[in-house]
Amino acid sequence: MAITIADVEHVALLSRLELSVGEKERYAQELSDIFGHVEELNKVDVTGVPPTAHPLPLKNVFREDVIQPSLPNAEALANAPAKEGPLFKVPQIV
């Protein structure tokens, strides 16, 4: 399956990425290659194999409803590119 420039632009918008013309061309090519590889996998006969999102046969992993300490505010914000007081600062949204 060939990924078009329009597909790349759509995904870039969803991810809020700004791409140059060169990048769009490069990603279209690279993503097409990746899709081609997945199509190879699609040739495998999986009749009778139930779909799964996990490699391990685990189910019902629960956590009890008990409060544990949260991060100190300074630590929570330590990696933020911008902050104001105890809050994360982001480009304007409204």
Binding site: H10, L14, R16, H54, L58, D65, P86, V90
Partner: protein
């Protein structure tokens, strides 16, 4: 052309757990910004979500109480979108194997009878954080508090079964009441723990086809939802009359202009690309897990209403009004526990209690009423035992409301005890000797029974409402030689 409204709701309710749904941070409204956050709810790479057992149990309880079909296996998916209040850039939700499908909420429409509002699906997901927009108009940034990110959120999606604003209002109040009975959520709309998103379309009256549906977000109270229904009806019907097509889109409520507005293209660019969340394993709802959740379902509104009629001998109307709110029904039962006079207590709650409640903001409950259940019980007891008259009680009540004092204390302080029967004699003598009452007395002697009412009124007035009507009538008759 006349149009019919077609409405479905997406109900979001925050579950009442101690911790968030995927991490052990406190699930608590308020608190200093970003004080209930950890690597999991901040979406830091390498952190792993683990499902809160209590959140799952509350969600399952709700699905079962709404008569949904609950599958054996339920799974979680990632809903991908990009917004600063969602630090992972995806919301963990359910899109494939929902916790529940089908089911219904049966709503009471008064004289119009009952109606089942069917449920499309019910699923467990996580709430987002809060964006704060600085007041200063020149500022070009927003601020984010992630305390709410990861709070367990239950979404109930209905079928488009609602056909009028009245049905929408009944659905919202009764869904809130249902969730309060289940005790799964605080249901405080002001705090956002209960939210209604509206899906609305119009179609020509008599048509079976569905029109293009518009989804409206940002509706933070029931009265706003109702306002929005009016505004959308006007907007959509104008468009249809002008031969325009209504676009199927998501719109936002503008509180200032009292109308909806389209979202901007960037806000609209949603393509959620759902896929199974590889961090979360399947939940197998075994018969044991199902039975345990089923066992936590308490008495629901309809059952409680029937019990109120049977156990307390209340009229159907009283039973329906009292049980229309979980807290009001509890208040009533607590009062009856301390003084078993159900009808007397019901009367005071329905008149004074609900009159007060109607003047308060939407989230207020009878628990906020300054007159507590024990005080109402005491007041009714004072009347029942003849310690005060109903008339005095009407004077005592506003003082209770204002001061929070017990009725017995108020009666004592204000000297509102009923007049001693021995003191009644002179009062009645004065009334009978009053020349203004001559004609009334003659009427009474002449066999006009209604005249007794007028004399009684005069006695009550002279005694300051403190005479006991039961003793006044025979005394008057005796003094007039009518016995």
């Amino acid at each position: 052309m006349d149009f019919e409204i077609v409405i479905g709701f997406e109900v979001h309710t925050e579950l009442k757990t101690k911790t968030k749904v995927w991490c052990a941070c406190a699930n608590e409204f308020g608190g200093p910004p970003n004080s209930h956050v950890c690597p999991v709810c901040l979406g830091m790479p390498g952190s792993l979500p683990v499902l809160n057992r209590e959140a799952f149990t509350l969600a399952l309880k709700t699905a079962l109480a709404l008569q949904c079909d609950v599958p054996r296996i339920t799974t979680f998916d990632r809903k991908n979108y990009y917004y600063p209040d969602l630090p992972k850039n995806y919301q963990i939700s359910q899109n494939d194997k929902f916790l529940g499908t089908g089911g219904y909420l049966e709503i009471d429409l008064g004289e119009a009878g009952h109606k089942k509002i069917r449920i499309h699906n019910i699923h467990l997901e996580e709430d987002a954080g809060k964006n704060i927009h600085p007041e200063d108009k020149n500022v070009t940034y927003s601020l984010v508090d992630l305390n709410r990110a990861g709070v367990p959120l239950l979404e109930i999606v209905t079928q488009p079964d609602i056909r009028s604003k009245e049905e929408a209002a009944a659905f919202m109040t009764q869904m809130r009441n249902f969730l309060q009975y289940l005790d799964v959520s605080d249901c405080k709309m002001q705090e956002g723990s209960l939210r209604f998103e509206l899906n609305m379309s119009l179609r020509p009256k008599g048509s079976d086809a569905f029109g293009q549906k518009v989804e409206v977000k940002n509706l933070n109270s029931m009265s706003v939802v109702l306002k929005c229904i009016d505004a959308e009806f006007d907007r959509q019907s104008d468009m249809l009359r002008n031969g325009e097509r209504v676009m199927s889109e998501t719109r936002l409520w503008d509180e200032v202009k009292n109308e909806t507005r389209a979202m901007r293209s960037k806000e609209r660019a949603n393509d959620y690309r759902y896929f199974p969340d590889p961090d979360l394993v399947d939940v197998d709802i075994t018969p044991e897990i199902r039975a345990a959740a089923q066992a936590t379902i308490p008495e629901l509104p309809l059952a409680r209403r029937r019990r109120f009629e049977e156990q307390y001998g209340l009229p159907a109307y009283d039973a329906s009004v009292l049980t229309a709110s979980f807290t009001t029904a509890n208040y009533f039962e607590k009062a009856v526990e301390s003084h078993p006079s159900p009808k007397g207590i019901s009367n005071w709650i329905m008149t004074e209690g609900l009159a007060w409640l109607n003047k308060q903001p939407e989230d207020t409950t009878i628990d906020d009423f300054p007159v507590k259940s024990a005080a109402i019980a005491e007041l009714v007891k004072l009347i029942d035992t003849g310690a005060i008259t109903g008339k005095i009680a009407k004077q005592v009540f506003p003082i209770m409301l204002e001061t929070g004092k017990s009725p017995a204390v108020i009666v004592e302080e204000k000297g509102l005890k009923p007049v001693d029967d021995s003191a009644l004699g002179p009062i009645i003598d004065e009334v009978l000797a009053d020349p203004r009452n001559e004609k009334t007395i003659a009427d009474l002697r002449g066999g006009k029974a209604a005249a007794m009412g007028a004399l009684m009124g005069a006695v009550m007035k002279r005694s300051g409402g403190k005479a006991n009507p039961a003793t006044v009538t025979p005394l008057i008759r005796k003094k007039l030689g009518l016995e």
